[in-house]
Symmetry: C2
Subunit: 490 residues, 2 copies
């Protein structure tokens, strides 16, 4: 291997970190908990953004931009929201620096203290609903379907690249509706959008459901979520969509005149996914040889590596490589020709394998004679020789197969790691193995809390349209009507 990489088995957590850093996705910055997203990682995020943005627009949403700062008092307006959010956050207290009088560099100018502190947004419900008050007067102003791409800050004590960082990038949708039904339908629609994105673009199968009260978003009436299973058996919440009821409309006094000319509070949703998805992507597909990226999100889908012994051969295979590159680019395939003469082919093979490029095409002098190339798949590591004739179609077909194979592999993994527990002992045994555990629960926050304290497992979701089944809570023995999904989670 070109780079030192811990294996998943030896040290899963270090394996993840190695991949993120050595595949040039991101790194820690000089600012505690804040990451730098490097060009290669950012190029994947841009593809995620583009795909999601199109899905949002296709479902009628528009983008807008709201302030980074939120007045402190706004957080107190929605009672449960403040409990969940306003505590661990970056607080701006001053607006000026000055030269230190003792000549020791620059210091905060104490005379420039803000009357009211500003909070760097941890999420934007409050500032947005404060704005919506002026935008919504009548039912004709509804629905209001808005999304924002932004950075947010939550002062996390323990951070991990992509998975939990103090600053992260995300999108947050904030919609306003005339009726409860419409708002619920919107929250459910966006859960479907997230599901489609996770499965079709990220090749990452997800379970859908709603959160228990303990895990619900601060200020929501119902939190819908998608949950994926990582290779270490831990769950990862990949996206949430909240039905907010009239909570924020009441907190910020947003009312509208309905068709009967009566004032009503507006119904709300909010929904978001973040750069956390980058972490989920890495952990779903990568292996002990490095990163694996599904073709639809890969910044480079095909890398062409010339094989040669002398300068004459170098030029000949590079010429062919350029020709193939052009054919593929015409077919909208993203290709890189690695014609560096400072590195050996073996080094390049390792490098692109480590960086997760789905297909590698090697061209050597013998290939030129035989009008063939060698193609290696990143997902299976299989190599095969193909004729140059019909290559574009072949590549397209292979990329498609890789995309599907990665999904199927992840789905198989999840199925193999989804268990049923019917007793507390079974549960305790299974939770140590990792994976999703379907089990009965008595529906109380207290039981969930105790299970969490004893096992670190939480209810990841209550399945949507899940099979109804009479049973007994694994912990309390009290009656239950439906199995819920437990797991330890990121």
């Amino acid at each position: 291997m070109a780079k030192e990489l811990n294996t998943r088995e030896d040290n899963y957590s270090q394996w993840y970190n190695d991949i993120v850093i050595k595949a040039d996705l991101a790194e820690n910055s000089s600012v505690r908990g804040c990451m730098v997203i490097k060009p290669y990682g950012y190029a994947i995020w841009e593809r995620m953004q583009a795909a999601l943005d199109k899905m949002f627009k296709d479902t009628g949403h528009e983008n807008a931009y709201f302030p980074l700062f939120i007045p402190k008092s706004f957080f107190s307006k929605e009672a449960s929201h403040v409990e969940g959010f306003a505590k661990e956050c970056a607080v701006v207290t001053h607006y000026r620096l000055k030269n230190d009088e003792d000549g020791k560099g620059i210091v905060v100018d104490e005379s420039a203290r803000l009357e009211e502190e500003l909070i760097v947004r941890p999420t934007s419900e409050t500032i947005i609903w404060d704005t919506y008050r002026n935008w919504i007067q009548s039912y004709r102003d509804l629905p209001l379907l808005i999304n924002q791409w932004a950075n947010v800050v939550r002062w996390e004590m323990r951070t991990r690249l992509f998975l939990r960082t103090t600053e992260f990038l995300w999108q947050e949708g904030h919609t306003a509706h005339a009726t409860k039904e419409e708002a619920v339908a919107e929250a459910e629609q966006m859960l479907r959008v997230y599901t489609d994105f996770a499965e079709e673009w990220m090749a990452m199968p997800v379970l859908r459901g709603v959160k228990s009260i303990n895990e619900r978003f601060a200020g929501a009436v119902e939190t819908y979520c998608i949950e994926a299973l990582m290779q270490d058996g831990k769950a990862l919440q990949a996206g949430t969509s909240h039905f907010l009821g009239q909570n924020f409309a009441k907190a910020f006094d947003v009312q509208f005149l309905n068709k009967e000319n009566k004032l009503e509070y507006v119904w709300a949703t909010s929904w978001g996914v973040s750069t956390r998805l980058m972490g989920a992507l890495v952990m779903t597909h990568s292996d002990d040889n490095g990163l694996v990226i599904p073709p639809k999100l890969a910044p480079i889908q095909v890398v062409i590596v010339p094989i040669y012994r002398n300068e004459e051969q170098y030029h000949a295979v590079c010429d062919k490589g350029r020709e193939i590159k052009q054919w593929l680019e015409k077919a909208d395939i993203r290709v890189k020709l690695d014609d560096r003469d400072t590195q050996k082919p073996g080094f390049k093979f390792n490098e692109w394998e480590f960086k997760g490029v789905p297909l590698r095409i090697a061209i050597g002098p013998r290939d030129l004679e035989q009008a063939s190339v060698e193609i290696a798949r990143r997902d299976t590591l299989e190599k095969e020789t193909y004729k140059v004739e019909g290559l574009v179609e072949k590549v397209r077909h292979l990329l498609d197969r890789i995309q599907k194979n990665l999904y199927q592999k992840a789905l198989d993994f999840r199925e193999q790691n989804t268990f049923q527990a019917d007793t507390w002992d079974e549960f305790l045994e299974l939770i140590e193995k990792g994976g999703f555990i379907r089990a009965h629960w008595d529906g109380t926050p207290e039981t969930e809390q105790r299970i969490k304290e004893e096992t670190k497992a939480t209810i990841r979701l209550i399945p949507l349209k899940g099979k109804m089944e009479e049973g007994k809570c694994i912990y309390s023995g009290n009656p239950s009507k439906q199995r819920v999904v437990f797991a330890r989670a990121y």
Copy 2:
């Protein structure tokens, strides 16, 4: 008119504000100096971003993302940079809030004070060069061509929507090079990119040049800029590209091994444009009927308005409207069919005129009979009847003509408002009229400063490859070799 709008002549400043607010581009938020960019305004910004982003990528740049926060001490490292930037900025001092013990809401938790304050980035040279130190070891790592799309904060005392806001959106390119020549070439290349964008997309002619020392970016060796002339005769700096020499490399100790295996400091550039361009766009083309948007940036290029007297007619003209919409959309033209039955055609005409949609197509019952439509141009307000046959080509042609006409109109305006002053009296007279003034200057910061104090005019730029011409400084009478461009500016 549908909306109350001040005329440019009566109150230019209020006219600008009216358009921004009433055309739904942006509004002030509850946070002092921070704006909300509304969906219609944001859709224009998204088109600007997409065009620029493609130009950056076509010239070999990649996007990345660096932290929002910068440790206070970083600003002290580059001496002139701190003078220019670090003073008026948002300072994060704490990372936690808590419930007030007296039950009066939430307060800052004084025990959660940061050891070192964090500054919300006003620009990112410092944090980026701190990062580059680890990315650059050898000449093989160069050039490093990176751009970032981000929000930045500068604590402005007087703010105006888009033109000067506490928080704004921008892109900042930060490149690193092995030689001075390469860095200078990069800075000049990006000035050309900005020029092309301003002229081809925004239909806004710009002058190119370099800044005098007084107006130079804090930390730059040379600041290249593009300057546009607004309809009130004031200049607006629309983009800057800085050659930073080795200043930041030295401040952050970024050295590389050159081909001769010797350590050298890296050469740098940075360059940026911001949501300020939205203000420039509004002020370059709009008129007393509202916003005017160049077709290439218009979120809606064509609006179709049905004319009808009864329900039967309504359905018939809407059917035709939908058909035309489909034809146009197939040709990648952005179309809206305004089929609201709650508003009269006259109201719709005014609304879309006010919002600057380049072309309006009206279809009434008589048009159906005659297989024709009426098309109105936003730029000239001319109306003409066209046959439905060949409509797509006609529309495409008109959009193209509008784009060119807007550019030509703005160019004519600039030419008519560019003057030469050869004496101080001439200068004083002309500066009151507004416009660009080409005049001789003795090259000293002191003279420029005095001219600014006496007239509020600054040197907007020293022309690139400007004609050399012997002359005498209008203020000091000292010798000068080249005219420079003065103006009052935004």
